[in-house]
């Protein structure tokens, strides 16, 4: 994998079947010994899908959509042609609200796990003003979920 911007088509492919496109831009910043560090950004937009309902008259980016930003970034960056699925949300914490016009910056570290095709994901999320707004740790697995 090369450092640099991730092809926009990969980002778009990662949104299929998702509530919304949760990443505006994605780049690989570090790639060393199978460990990948990426940065994804998303501006909170009241006109994006689902946002009008969260909440009517007051728009706030749902915590679960921060999870979407993280998973779409991982899918676009390392998912491959077969995509990937979330096996476990180890932990999620949301520390600051993301309102219309705020930018979400996500710094994601992806490390190969077990079994083959699994990845440990550790995401630190900041709001555009520098405030820490979320921390998410996941296990994802390439391909379709077994036993669906």
């Amino acid at each position: 994998m090369k450092t640099g911007s991730v092809d926009d088509q990969l980002c778009e492919d990662a949104t299929r079947g998702a509530p919304l496109r949760a990443i505006d831009s994605l780049s690989v910043t570090t790639c060393l010994n199978d460990r990948v560090v990426m940065r994804a950004s998303r501006e909170v937009d009241r006109d994006a899908p689902y946002m009008q309902g969260h909440f009517p008259g007051f728009t706030i980016y749902p915590g679960v959509f921060v999870l979407e930003t993280v998973t779409q970034a991982v899918a676009a960056g390392v998912g491959g042609a077969d995509g990937l699925h979330v096996r476990t949300v180890r932990s999620m914490r949301f520390m600051a609200p993301l309102l219309v016009g705020d930018r979400l910056d996500v710094y994601v570290t992806v490390t190969p796990g077990e079994p083959p095709g699994a990845f440990e994901v550790d995401a630190s999320c900041r709001r555009g003003d520098g405030a820490s707004c979320a921390r998410i740790k996941l296990i994802v697995q390439q391909g379709a979920r077994a036993g669906a």
Binding site: G17, P19, S91, G147
Partner: protein, 164 residues
């Protein structure tokens, strides 16, 4: 039991982010069972076509967790909202731990969320539970924390979108 009108009144969420259809059981202050039907007509499936593999139709994990959280919020709001009457308040997910997704949920499935209160104090709720489709468990929720906040406390201006 809470019907659709009750759900619309209690939850601050609106279409298409209102992700609970029906309350099946409710024990005040203790537990709730809620249902959410998954349909191909949902917005999340709008970008898919017949060329996409079947697994792309798995209900997004983000929305599954949100639906579970909203079900639990109904249990809380059913009791608390009378106390907070007159003030615009929203319920927000602030943390979750050990959420295991075991199976895909697909269009045509009905999610059945079984949520129990682990701890409730002031404006904080701690819940746990499981989600089923039929008798098959789809997900287990180790813990989920939600808070109730006034809209005024989340902004420093009266106009949405103004610079902080």
């Amino acid at each position: 039991m809470l019907d659709a009108a009750d759900i619309r009144e209690l939850l601050p969420h609106g279409h298409p982010m209102l992700l609970v259809d029906r309350v099946l059981e409710l024990t005040p202050g203790a537990s709730i069972v809620g249902a959410k039907a998954i349909t191909l007509g949902e917005q999340c499936y709008g970008t898919l076509n017949g060329a996409q593999p079947a697994e792309r139709y798995a209900y997004p994990v983000s929305l599954l967790l949100e639906s579970f959280g909203q079900t639990a919020a109904l249990l809380w709001l059913h009791t608390r909202l009378r106390e907070a009457a007159g003030e615009d308040r929203i319920v927000m997910l602030v943390a979750a731990r050990d959420c295991r997704i075991e199976r895909d949920a697909l269009p045509g499935d009905v999610l059945r969320h079984v949520a129990r209160i682990e701890h409730a104090a002031a404006d904080t709720l701690l819940i746990a539970g499981e989600t089923f489709v039929g008798d098959r468990r789809v997900a287990s929720i180790g813990s989920m924390m939600a808070v109730m906040r006034s809209i005024a406390s989340l902004t420093q201006s009266t106009s949405e979108g103004e610079t902080r």
